[in-house]
């Protein structure tokens, strides 16, 4: 039984986190939560299936995995189903959100929340100014 950290593609939902940054975030989370990391799993870029993790789980029997964020969970239903079937007994930790849990319901809640954030509109901060943001609030209102 072991604890693993999982690095993925640099593009993670709304974030862009290089692999060494991901490692720093997860190792800091592990240290703050007294978790000892024994396995480091590099998932391939341009894939959020977490297939390498599932394959390694069969061999190494992982009991805890740490990811940076809920946005690294699969999006497509068939991939979600595979993850739930293969890893529902594993404790998942999401460092940026600071949440953890085990089981199908916990993972489905995380996937649902990630989807809600992905569906929310986001203002591109590289294409605006402070005054434009203020004007936007005044014109659109807050409710």
């Amino acid at each position: 039984m072991s604890t693993a950290t999982i690095t993925t593609d640099i593009n993670i939902g709304p974030f862009k986190i290089p692999a060494n940054g991901q490692n720093m975030i997860m190792n800091n989370y592990a240290s703050r939560n007294n978790l000892v990391v024994e396995v480091i799993i590099p998932e391939p870029l341009m894939s959020n299936a977490l297939a390498t993790t599932q394959w390694l789980h069969k061999e190494k029997k992982l009991d805890k995995v740490i990811l940076c964020t809920i946005h690294q969970l699969p999006v497509k239903q068939d991939r979600i189903d595979k993850l739930l079937n293969n890893m529902e007994d594993v404790e998942f930790h999401f460092a940026l959100e600071g949440i953890s849990g085990t089981g199908r319901n916990f993972l489905l809640e995380c996937i649902k929340e990630a989807k809600m954030f992905m569906n929310a509109k986001t203002i591109d901060s590289t294409k605006t100014t402070w005054s434009k943001l203020f004007k936007m609030k005044q014109e659109i209102g807050t409710r």
């Binding site: 939902g13 709304p14 974030f15 964020t69 809920i70 946005h71 940026l96 959100e97 600071g98 929340e113 990630a114 809600m116 954030f117 929310a120 509109k121 986001t122 203002i123 901060s125 100014t129 402070w130 005054s131 943001l133 203020f134 936007m136 609030k137 005044q138 659109i140 209102g141 807050t142 409710r143």
Partner: protein, 234 residues
Amino acid sequence: MDLYEELVRGPGYAVCPIENMRLFKKLRDSFLDKINISTESKKNINTARSAIVKMSLAEINSSRINLLTFTNLSDMIINSCPSLVETLCGKELFIQRRAHIIFNVPDKELLRIWNHYEMISGISPFTYVLWAPLHDLDDDGGAYIIDQKESLEVMKKEEAEGLVNGPTVLNMMEKQKPARLKFGQLVVFNPFVLHGNVQFNSKFARIACNVRFQSYHKPLLQKNSDYLKYYRLP
């Protein structure tokens, strides 16, 4: 002017009563349990305030780490003022995942919050902040807020100079007078009004909690699931 108009088009902030004092008192009791710095058998906010004053910066930091276990703090603050929150943003919200409990300690320069706009952190322009002390504010340990008109003038001046939170903003701190709120009052403000703390003299530290929230139906800026969570008011 109603609350929504005051917050959007008026001064940009308002002092309001906490709606559910029973819950807010429970929040304060949970804080005292979690911070665990009072040696007295009956835990009391003033004993905690006076203990904090005597602590080193490292001890204060480590006691704040104890508060990481206060995972329902955001929900408790929001649920202490549900009508206010709904008036400003509706029932479906993004709220701060981990609300803050902050100390302002006399003579500890490093713990003072500099004059700033909430916007500098990357929260959405549609966000509001609820800030409430956990005791009466009888000294200048509270927070001051500069109204929206004056804050905007500074913001525009800085923008023209290509600056954010530059010397003009920082030099405004000394002449400010924090509001003396009572336990059971809060201040709600939009992210464009300047605010901060001043140095003050007291035997007690100031302890306050704050949380940020916005409508789920309004756009995010840079803060995402790392900072916010979905929340629906009952």
